[in-house]
């Protein structure tokens, strides 16, 4: 067995792991019942699923004698953007009250999503 063969097997294992976690993420999206709970499923796909698939891609390129590592960039951009979209979705959930009640804070602070702003009040009075 040459190095290229070992590389291909490793890549196959990576692809299987990635596919399995993507499947679990999809199952979670269907199975979970609460909007906030459902948010947890895609984070698995975004990290482990895509990560393992990209690792497989890197291994294949090295097994074939090349060198391709710009998959790392895809990973980096995903890691930088995924939390922001998750944060936006959870902010919408809090704002529309379609999840459990958020805990109260002591010391006169509120969660920034629930702060009543002056311009919001003006719009409410008009309506």
């Amino acid at each position: 067995m040459t190095m290229a063969d070992i590389g291909l097997y490793l890549a196959a294992i990576c692809l299987l792991i990635g596919a399995a976690f993507t499947l679990v993420g999809a199952i979670g999206l269907i199975k979970l019942d609460d909007a906030m709970k459902r948010l947890h499923a895609p984070t698995k796909v975004g990290t482990m699923g895509i990560g393992a698939l990209l690792l497989g891609s890197i291994i294949v390129s090295f097994a074939r004698g090349g060198s391709s590592i710009h998959e790392l960039l895809i990973m980096a951009f995903l890691f930088a953007t995924a939390p922001i979209s998750a944060n936006f979705i959870s902010k919408v959930n809090i704002h529309r009250r379609c999840c459990d009640e958020t805990p109260e804070l002591q010391g006169g602070q509120t969660w920034s999503t629930l702060v009543e702003r002056e311009e919001d009040k003006a719009v409410k009075e008009k309506a």
Binding site: M36, H40, K44, G46, H70, A80, I94, D100, T102, W111
Partner: protein
């Protein structure tokens, strides 16, 4: 000399990052491309320096790298745990909970990294921050003991980030 260096590299870390990203984008290493990446890495921070008024001081790159390794390891472990929870527990058994994490960090960059880390680690999503930035609202998928999760976040991530962003 130091003033010239500060003028040329308003953000040394951004310069390094842009160079590395440029070389990675090319996908094959050559000296010419590295030099061109370095030129981009000098020109872009210089040209956009007006919009980055606060120079990040005391950013520890070495500790950041070890922090990234720790986070990747945590992501691997948490992925398996959460996949197990999703597959085996019914919706009723799942104890999802809001967790309020009191923050000691104050710098916006550090807070962004902390919130991003919490979201990337499966099982927890950072949802909101209090209006004065003193508390972080985290949603956990399955947390039988919410205080333990809070302590974990504080000791594992926040304490390290406090050393990175001085």
């Amino acid at each position: 000399m130091i003033r010239f260096f500060n003028w040329l590299f308003p953000h040394p870390f951004l310069t390094l990052l842009l160079t590395v990203v440029w070389v990675l984008l090319q996908n094959e290493f050559s000296a010419g491309m590295a030099v061109f990446g370095l030129i981009l890495g000098i020109v872009i921070p210089r040209a956009t320096a007006v919009w980055w008024p606060d120079r990040p001081v005391g950013f520890k790159l070495g500790k950041m790298l070890s922090y990234i390794c720790l986070v990747i390891w945590d992501i691997l472990v948490a992925n398996v745990q959460v996949a197990w929870v999703v597959l085996t527990r019914s919706n009723k058994d799942m104890k999802s909970a809001w967790i309020v994490v009191p923050l000691e960090l104050r710098s916006p960059e550090a807070l962004t990294v902390l919130a991003g880390t919490i979201t990337l680690t499966p099982g927890t999503v950072s949802a909101d921050i209090s209006d004065k930035g003193r508390f972080l609202l985290v949603h956990a998928l399955h947390a039988p003991d919410p205080d333990a999760v809070c302590d974990d976040i504080k000791s594992r991530y926040e304490a390290r980030l406090k050393e990175i962003f001085v």
